[in-house]
């Protein structure tokens, strides 16, 4: 029996998903902007504006993940594709989907638990709208993802029903977490890693690992969903969908061509000009957005075509963009550096001064690679012509205005979310009314659907990663590590080496803000014990985290770039390897040559 089910339910579901997500996206764009206007001009505002914006982001992320699951675009390791076509490949796909669906079904159980708790105890955001209306998205979306993984894995109904029965039985166990209390987690973790290697989505790997750790402590699956919820409603998160949509809208038209002409006119005379500009542009953008992945989302769609059209190898271009997306965090007003200062109780001005040379070193390393690529590839250079430079500015004026809009609004007092909302609205106005690339509602919905699926794929991983981090913390692993280090490590050099590894891993598995809050209080006392300057420690922390963003298999830049450029993670990791190596040298220099940080600082002190 084949799987030709009637089409109308699927069409209706698809339309409902796109409708909900599109309404939510407009909510995320318009709420912060309306608040700014109302607050500044009329001393009034929208009740619960930020909370609504955060919960609309939650909807965008979750519904987007359901759409990505429908289209088979949930991010997975590419190792499954190494298995030869045929029976073994099918078996691998079915096994991976089965484990992935099981994790989703258990998260569904957790979502139901959260909703039940909130119906009873939860409050109201404003205008009588309770929180749990939004939280309903958790069980519905995890249920849809489980169903879609099964649906795509097996073409026949009999097989699908068999898989669904296995998943339902497994999910039943999730309602009895006591059964797993104090049980060994290793067999289950190995099962997850095996399934991930066979092609299970990465969100299921992280979400499943979180569930296993919670279960082994006798906790229920609701805790993993609360972790995901905390991440999805964090205050700066709406910037991710908003910058993504801005980037997608600009990419719809011929913005890349216009920007390329501008880059060529101004930097075509120097070797590797466009690549150098890419590094500087990305660093500049990241220091204002604070989030590494955001840079790739917002600029990747513009800069990759520009680099390719300018004759750079695809592999180099992908590597450059993936790596450059994490630069900039050492320059003021980097949010992670500010947060480090607060948590470690270090003067923030000292961190900005101390971070300057290391920041220049990391940026210079990538710029150097750009220059080298320009020389090695022998890409022809062109002479600078004033007329062409002026003309290119005029042609690309709207695209060039985007960073001005972002930076300008930030400097005028907008928050990151307000600034990203303005960027999205600006991009929409430019494409709809000036360039006329988006001429109808249908065009707009196509762009929205593409960007929402992309955002959903990213946010679902970020959210379950938070659940995973929380689970590690609840299991007391970071504290145990800190206690072990104090007990066993006697040399500062060994400590710093261990710190490099720990911070790169931390940067790879969690977002930098969580890493600062969780890891900094643990390492500061140990670093003091070894006589490491707290400003130097802060700079080491951020520099290592920048590298962590690029570290396979779950470094945020890798999977964000994988989505943005539609390339397997392993291919991106290979492309980025030379840049990774150069940045690693930079990180080691920053770590073991404290003068880079403290030298300039001593001058100012």
């Amino acid at each position: 029996m084949t799987a030709d089910a009637p089409r109308w339910p699927r069409v209706a579901l698809t339309r409902a998903e796109v409708f909900i997500a599109t309404v939510a996206v407009f909510g995320v764009i318009l709420l912060p902007l309306s608040e700014v206007v109302l607050r500044r001009l009329f001393s009034t505002g929208i009740d619960g504006e930020a909370t609504f914006a955060a919960h609309f982001t939650l909807l965008v992320g979750l519904v987007g993940a359901a759409i990505a699951a429908r289209d088979g675009k949930l991010l997975a390791l590419a190792t499954g594709t190494l298995i030869p076509e045929g029976r073994w490949r099918t078996l691998a796909a079915v096994s991976a989907a089965l484990v992935g669906a099981l994790v989703s079904a258990i998260l569904l159980v957790g979502g139901v638990g959260l909703v039940r708790n909130q119906v009873e105890n939860g409050g109201v955001i404003a205008y009588g709208i309770p929180y749990w209306w939004f939280y309903l998205a958790f069980p519905i979306v995890f249920g849809l993802i489980a169903a879609r993984l099964i649906w795509r894995a097996w073409p026949a109904w009999k097989g699908r029903l068999l898989m669904a029965a296995v998943v339902a039985a497994g999910a039943w166990f999730a309602t009895r977490p006591d059964m797993f209390l104090d049980a060994s987690t290793w067999p289950w973790l190995l099962l997850l890693v095996g399934a991930a290697a066979l092609g299970m989505p990465i969100f299921a790997l992280l979400g499943g690992a979180a569930l296993i750790i919670y279960f082994s402590n006798g906790d229920n699956p609701i805790q993993a969903v609360i972790g995901a919820l905390d991440q999805l409603k964090s205050s700066d998160l709406p910037a991710i969908p908003l910058f993504t949509i801005a980037g997608f809208l600009l990419a719809e038209g011929r913005s890349a061509e216009r920007l390329l002409r501008f880059f060529r006119a101004f930097f075509g005379w120097m070797p590797g000009g466009t690549a150098v500009v890419t590094a500087v542009f990305c660093a500049f953008f990241t220091l204002f957005t604070g989030g590494s992945g955001v840079t790739i989302l917002a600029l990747g769609g513009l800069l990759l075509p520009a680099l390719l059209a300018d004759g750079y190898r695809e592999r180099f271009s992908l590597g450059m963009l993936t790596a450059a997306g994490s630069l900039g965090l050492l320059f003021p007003p980097s949010l992670p550096l500010i947060l480090y200062g607060i948590v470690a109780e270090v003067p923030i001005a000292d961190l900005f001064i101390g971070g300057f040379l290391p920041g220049v070193l990391m940026l210079g390393a990538l710029m150097g690679m750009g220059v080298r690529e320009g020389i090695v590839s022998g890409r022809p250079r062109q002479r600078f012509a004033f007329g062409e430079a002026a003309a290119s500015i005029w042609v690309a004026k709207w695209e060039l205005l985007l960073p001005v809009v972002i930076l300008g609004s930030l400097l005028l007092g907008a928050t990151t979310v307000q600034s990203s909302a303005l960027a999205a609205l600006f991009a929409f106005i430019v494409q709809r009314f000036i360039h006329r690339s988006v001429t109808s509602l249908a065009d707009l919905l196509v762009v929205m659907t593409k960007s929402i699926a992309l955002v959903g794929g990213i946010l679902i991983i970020l959210s379950v990663a938070r659940g995973f981090t929380d689970a590690l913390i609840f299991a007391d692993l970071p504290q145990q590590l800190a206690a072990w280090t104090t007990e066993n490590v006697k040399s500062p050099w060994v400590f710093l080496l261990g710190l490099n590894v720990v911070l790169i891993v931390a940067g790879a598995i969690m977002d930098i803000f969580s890493a600062v809050i969780i890891v900094v209080p643990l390492i500061v006392p140990i670093a003091m014990h070894f006589g490491i300057d707290p400003v130097h420690l802060g700079v080491i922390f951020i520099a290592n985290s920048e590298l962590g963003y690029l570290t396979p298999p779950v470094g945020e830049n890798l999977f964000v770039a994988s989505y943005r450029f539609n390339k397997p993670i392993l291919e991106l990791a290979r492309a980025m390897l030379p840049m990774y190596f150069i940045l690693l040298i930079g990180v080691l220099l920053i770590t073991y040559w404290p003068w880079l940080t403290t030298g300039v600082l001593a001058f100012f002190r």
């Binding site: 930020a50 959260l114 805790q223 609360i226 007092g413």
Partner: protein, 336 residues
Amino acid sequence: MFRKASVRWVVVLALAASAAVSAQAPQVIRMGSVVPEASPWIAALKSMGQAWAAATAKRVAFRSMPPNPSETSVIQRMGTDGLEAGALSVVGLAEIDPAFNALAIPFFFESDAEFAHVLEKLTPMLTQRLAAKHYQLVLWGHGGWVQVFSKQPIRTMADLQKAKLFTSEGSPDTVRWYTSNGFHPVPLAIGEIPKQLKLPTGAIDATPAVAPLALAMQFYKDAKYMLDVRVAPLVAGVVMTESAWAKVSPEDRTSMLGAAKETQQKLFSQAPTLDASHIKEMQASGLQVIKLDGPAAAQFRAAAEKLGTTQRGSIIPADAYDAVLRERDAYRKTRK
């Protein structure tokens, strides 16, 4: 027959084993909060946990969990058996029951002694309200006094009403209350405060904050005036879930509450000292404390008193408001 007997034995052995395990395994109390681990409050609570273990012969084990992103998250985890206890500020406690807002009425209390007296009188009522929501109050905490830091000197209520005043996002009731009383509140995330105060065109030019926050975030360098009329004490409370509390024997509960009381006294006695030292440190780096003379302070308090009444029935349940007002005024009468 043999099979039935063996099953019975297995069940008996399993029950005996589980009884033995439960007799030995301590009752673990995991406490969540948003407070950084390095803070003096967490240190005090950890030492209380050690006292609990000692007083109960290790039948109770206390674990302070690393900081949660929000108090809402702490409450959600307590409500779903992910945490057994939470250290919550008055904001979090008011999420459980809005009567706790009665402890945070702006410019309502004049001194530590007045506040401590009213808190003691209100504790039975608040404990009862918590119990109705399935929580047990373990101890009160004091995080110092909230003060107003501003870019321009504030001397009157009218000055304060003119200021673009930071307020935490996610509290629409508070924003509405501010607006209806002629203030200009700007709801933002706490992390935005330093940047917004630094920028000449920032969204805010004044913020209420406790001294340790102003010092840690360094925003007193931009908002370099501090009004010497204190807004409200930053009250906190450690609460336990009813189910976790029920698992502790009555004798152990008494011991735990005794140790908690000692910690509470320590927190209340150290709060004024910490406030004073933080303010002194900020003054050394340029903070200017705006002191009001007698009539000006009285005028400010009188204007504030009228404001406080507008919270009755909206932000604070009417009975809780009446109770806090009654107890405070009774205390003031005894001091005259």
